[in-house]
Amino acid sequence: MSAPQSLSYRQLFWQVMHRDLKVAVHNKGDILNPLIFLVIVITLFPLGVGPETNLLTRIAPGIIWVAALLSALLSLERLFKNDYSDGSLEQMLLSPQPLFIMVLAKISAHWLLTGLPIILIAPLLALMLHMEPLAYPALMITLALGTPVLSLIGAIGVALTVGLKKGGVLLSLLILPLYIPVLIFATAAIEAAALNMPYSGHIAIISALLVLALTLSPFAVSAALRVSTN
């Protein structure tokens, strides 16, 4: 028995991603709000700790990364929520195509919509926080390698909580601890770069985390979705 029209894995990936991007373009708030949240959180820090340039230079990497974590958390909730409530998630689970490819496509779309804008806006935020100019490349590299990890790990938490009514607070409890290694190595790399020291080791570890998350997380997400849609 052959399927009427079978999709190759690549076609499947592009189709799901294309669909998610199209849906997101219709709800622009979903893309913009986490970004505005990020900028506001960054603005709060100088107001909270004082406007001294030296102090801000010291804490800039940490602030930017913590704010990026929080805004990722904020944007993650909608990753599966709408598909879950309108039933299309269930159709995906029922379809004969491998689930982890669809999951990977959805996560990639999510990263394009929320991770990429953070990377693009990061130099501006770093400028506002008087970050050491030497550290800019490190900031960009760690964000480019680190934000996909945030989307990939976060998706596991979202998949576990999508069926729950009050999943939001629980989501942060589940995935923020798992974000800690990324945060540690990213900020360590930026601080090393600011001191003009080599930081390739940190970058290598973040890359390793990315590869690990990229290979394992879609399977964990698929398993979690099957539990949630039970």
Partner: protein
């Protein structure tokens, strides 16, 4: 092995086995706890620099070592339930989560109390301490996920996935000492051949580690029995059991 193991997939048999094992674990753990505590607190020699207050090691080290072991045991139980579909393993994993969380909290609190006089600070953001804090958060996440679902079987599957994801964190804890060698001293008793601790101090410590392990076993059995009863509350054997207890 499967022939031998198979009857225990039935909740009733597992419940009976847990009931038979419980007194052995309970009695041996109480005896060893008393021996270890008296030996360590009263008879072991005082340390050269830390004088008497080093004795908190007899609580700190067992709870710290075993808090990680409990997580591994939990992950093993989850894996068994996922691979071989033995749903009772889920009950065991659910039973172990709060015990592990308590042990981790104990390790952190005793560590803070111990650190205040010996390091001059109760908390440093050192890699090992931070990893234990993350371990505590992981336990709390697993427990929260268990409580978030109405259906216990569903809750166990969800929490199981989270447990396995958290296992990735365990090697980071393990190797953190070698990665960032900061304030925390490196492992003392892992190399059993030549421990950097005098044997008069080491033996009560090992006694206490064994006692804690048996205590965890006993607590797990008690909680496992409760979990099995809660998950099978509608089964005839549970009703019979309840009626029997009610008659007494």
């Amino acid at each position: 092995m499967w022939k031998w193991l198979h009857p225990y997939a039935k909740p009733e048999r597992s419940y009976q086995l847990a009931s038979t094992l419980l007194p052995w674990f309970a009695i041996s753990s109480i005896v060893l706890l008393v021996i270890g505590a008296v030996w360590g607190l009263a008879f072991a020699p005082a340390e050269l620099y830390q004088k008497e207050y080093y004795r908190i090691i007899y609580i700190h080290v067992p709870s710290a070592t075993l808090s990680m072991s409990v997580y591994m045991a939990m992950a093993t139980a989850v894996l068994i339930s996922m691979v071989w579909q033995l749903k009772l393993a889920d009950a065991a994993a659910a039973a172990m989560a709060p015990i592990g969380a308590t042990l981790t909290a104990t390790a952190l609190i005793t560590g803070a109390i111990w650190g205040a006089p010996s390091w001059g600070t109760s908390w440093v953001w050192d890699a090992r301490l931070t990893s234990y804090l993350i371990l505590l958060f992981l336990y709390l996440g697993v427990i929260a996920l268990h409580n978030a679902f109405e259906d216990k079987a569903l809750a166990s599957r969800a929490a199981g996935i989270l447990t396995l994801v958290g296992v990735v964190n365990i090697p980071i804890i393990k190797y953190s000492v070698e990665w960032w060698n900061t304030l925390h001293q490196t492992a003392t008793i892992s190399k059993l051949s030549a421990p950097s601790m005098s044997s008069e101090m080491l033996w009560p410590l090992l006694t206490n580690i064994l006692a804690f392990a048996l205590m965890i076993g006993a607590l797990t059995l008690i909680r496992f029995k409760n979990e099995v009863l809660a998950r099978n509350a509608m089964r005839p054997w549970v009703r019979e059991l309840a009626a029997k207890v009610g008659d007494k």
